[in-house]
C-alpha cells in the first residue's frame, strides 16, 4: 500500500503545480490591471512578488515530480510526455513572470487610447492559460476530454492575435508618438501575446500526447 500512498502524494504535487500556474495567470491579470489603471506602484509590486513566489514554488514542484517519475520508473510509456508537458507549462509561467518584470523595470508609458486593447489582450492570454491548465488536468485524469479544452486554447490564441495585430497597427498609425515609444509599446504587446502563443504550442503537443495515450 506504500505504493499507492506515494502515488497519491505525486498526484497531489502535479495538481498543485497546475494550481500554481492557474493562480499565476490570475495574479498576472490583476497586476496588468493595476498597472493600466494606476501605473507602477506598490500595488503592482505586490502582485509581481506573488507571481515570483508562485513561480519558484512551481519550479520546485516540477523538479520533484520529474525526479520521482524517473527514479521510481513510473509511467514508463508516458513519462517523457509528462516531462515535456510540465516543462512547457513552466515556460508559460516564466513568460508571465518575465512580462511583469518588464513592466516593473521598463515602466512603459501606455497612452489612454490603448489601455482598452491591452486589457483585452491580457484577458485573452489569461483565458488561454486557464484553458491549457484544464486540458492538462484532463490529460492526467480523463484523456478523452482533452479535446474539449483544446479548442478553447486555439480560440483564445486567435483572439489574442487579432487584438495584438490591431493594437500594433494603431500604435504605428499614431503620428504624434516617437518611433522609440512605438517600439516600446510594440514589445509589450508581443510579450503578452507570446503567452497565448506558448499556450497554443503546449496545446499542440498535448493533443499528440493524448492520441498516444488512447492507443
Amino acid at each position: 500500500m506504500a505504493l499507492f500512498r506515494r502515488t497519491k502524494a505525486l498526484e497531489n504535487e502535479i495538481d498543485e503545480f497546475l494550481d500554481k500556474l492557474s493562480e499565476s495567470a490570475l495574479v498576472f491579470r490583476q497586476a496588468i490591471e493595476l498597472y493600466l489603471s494606476d501605473g507602477p506602484g506598490a500595488g503592482f509590486d505586490e502582485k509581481l512578488r506573488q507571481v515570483n513566489e508562485l513561480e519558484s514554488r512551481a519550479d520546485q514542484l516540477r523538479r520533484g515530480i520529474e525526479t520521482q517519475l524517473y527514479s521510481q520508473t513510473l509511467i514508463p510509456e508516458s513519462r517523457g510526455d509528462v516531462l515535456g508537458l510540465l516543462e512547457n507549462l513552466d515556460s508559460i509561467l516564466n513568460l508571465l513572470e518575465g512580462t511583469l518584470w518588464g513592466f516593473s523595470i521598463e515602466t512603459p508609458d501606455i497612452p489612454e487610447e490603448f489601455v482598452k486593447d491591452y486589457r483585452g489582450l491580457t484577458e485573452m492570454a489569461v483565458l488561454s492559460v486557464e484553458a491549457i491548465v484544464m486540458a492538462s488536468r484532463a490529460f492526467f485524469r480523463d484523456h478523452e476530454t482533452v479535446g474539449d479544452h483544446m479548442y478553447k486554447v486555439m480560440f483564445y490564441e486567435k483572439e489574442a492575435d487579432k487584438v495584438s495585430t490591431k493594437l500594433k497597427r494603431e500604435i504605428f498609425g499614431q503620428a504624434d508618438l516617437h518611433l522609440s515609444h512605438k517600439m516600446h509599446l510594440k514589445s509589450f504587446t508581443e510579450h503578452i501575446d507570446n503567452v497565448a502563443d506558448k499556450a497554443e504550442d503546449v496545446a499542440d503537443r498535448l493533443s499528440i500526447y493524448a492520441i498516444k495515450r488512447s492507443i
Partner: protein, 494 residues
Amino acid sequence: MDIAVLIFLTSGLFLGWSLGANDAANVFGTAVGTRMIRFSTAAAICGVFVILGAVISGAGAAHTLGRLGSVNALAGSFMAAFSAGLAVYVMTKFGLPVSTTQAIVGAIIGWNLFSETLTDTNAMTKILATWVVSPLLAAVIAILLFKLVTRVLRIAKLHILRTDAYTRLGLVLAGAFGAYSLGANNIGNVMGVFISSSPFTDFSLAGWVNVSSVQQLFLLGGLAIAVGVVTYSKRVMLTVGGGLLPLSPVAAWVVVMAHSIVLFLFASQGLERLLASYGLPTIPLVPVSSSQAVIGAVLGIGLLKGGRGLRWRLLGGIGAGWLLTPVIAGVVCMVGLFVMQNVFNQQVYRPVAYEISQPVIDRLARAGMAPGAISGLEGRRFASAVRFDRALDAKERLGPEDKAKLMAYAELDEMTIDPGRLGLVETGWLTIGQTRALRRLSGRTFTHKWMLAEALMEESAGWKPLADNMANKAYNKELGDKLDFLYRTFRAAR
C-alpha cells in the same frame, strides 16, 4: 541413488533450463519490456511461483503426457528430454519462437517409433486439438478482457499515475499467476517422461504430508526452470517486450492474464473436480504451449485494433516454427536413440511383449469380448505393440475400445511382490487396508498388470475402483496412480 540416474536426469534439467529461459519471457516479457517491472523483481517472482506450481499442481497435465507414450527406460527418457531441449535451444538460436510442448511431443513420438510402441491416438488428438484451441481461446479471452478493462478505465477516470500503479500491481499478480500456471502445466514437459522411470521413492513427512516421487521429480524440474529464468531469460524478455506488437502497459497486462487463464484452464485438477461435481463437461488436462497462448492473446488485441501494426510475416514464421519444432525433436530423438543403443550400448526402451495366453482369453471372455475376435491368435506372442497391432488389424477390424482392452489385458509385465521391497511402499500414502492386502500377496508373481490389480481387489475393497462417473474420477485416478507406483516398484528387472 545411482550416478547414472543423475547423469540421465541432467537432460531433463537442461530442458527445464531452456524452458525457463524461453517461456518465462511469455509471462513477464511484456512487463519487463515496457519497463513496468525490473528484471530482478520479475525473475524472483517467476522462479518462486514456477516451483510452487510445479510441485503443487503439476501432476494433472503430466498424466496425459505419460499416457501418450510411457518412455520406460531411463536412457530413453534422457534422449527424449535432450532432443526436445536441443530443438528448443536451436530454435532460440535462430530467433524463432519456441514451443517446448511441441518439442517434447515430437521427441516422444520419435521414441514411440523407435521402440515400436503404439502412439495413443486419443491422447495425441487431444494434444493436437489444444494446439489449435489454445491460441484461439487466448485470443478470444484477450479481446473480451481488453474491452472490459478499457471500458472500466473509461468509467473510472483514474489519474495516469493511479492507472500506472494498478497496472504494475496487476502485472505482478498476473505474472505470479502465470508463473504458477507455467510451472503446473509445463513441468509435465520437463519431467513427464521421467515419471515411469523415476529414481525417487515416495516418502511421507511425519505421516501427514505424502511427498510422492513425482513431486520430488517436479521440485527438481521446477528448480531447473527457475535457474533458467534467473540466468538466461532477460534477453528473451526484452525481445518479447519490444519485438511483438507494440503494447501499452494495460494491453501487456491483458496479454499476460489471457495467457495465464488459458494455461490454468488446461492444468487445473481443482477446476476439473469442480466442473465434475456439478456434472459439467470437463476440460482435458493437456500441456499447452505458453508461447502459443501469448501469441494468440497478442493476435487477439491486434485484431481488435483492426489488424494494423501486426507483423503478419512474423506470424507466418511462428506458424512454420510450430510445425517444424516437433519434427526436429522427433528426428533428433530417433537418431540419438539409435546412437545410444548401438554406440553406448544403453537400453533405451524396455521391450513390452504381448501374449494371448489362456488366462488372458478367460479374462477377455469375462470382460464380455466375443471369442471370435481373438481366434487364431491363441498362444501367440508378439514382441512389440506395433506388431501386435498389425496382427490384430490383419485379422479383423476391432473397435478402438475393444482393441485398447485387448492390448491392456495381453500386455506382459512380470512382477513379483518381493518382501524385501515392501518397505518402499509403506510411506503412509496407501491406506492401512491397501497395505494389508499387499502384504498378503507377498512372494507371489504376476505376469500381467491386471492380475496384480485383481488379486489386490480380492484381498481388499480399498483397491476396488468406484463407479465410473465424473464425481469419482479423482478417486479412481489416484487409485490408478497407486497401482502404477506398485508396478514400478515390483516390476521384475529385465
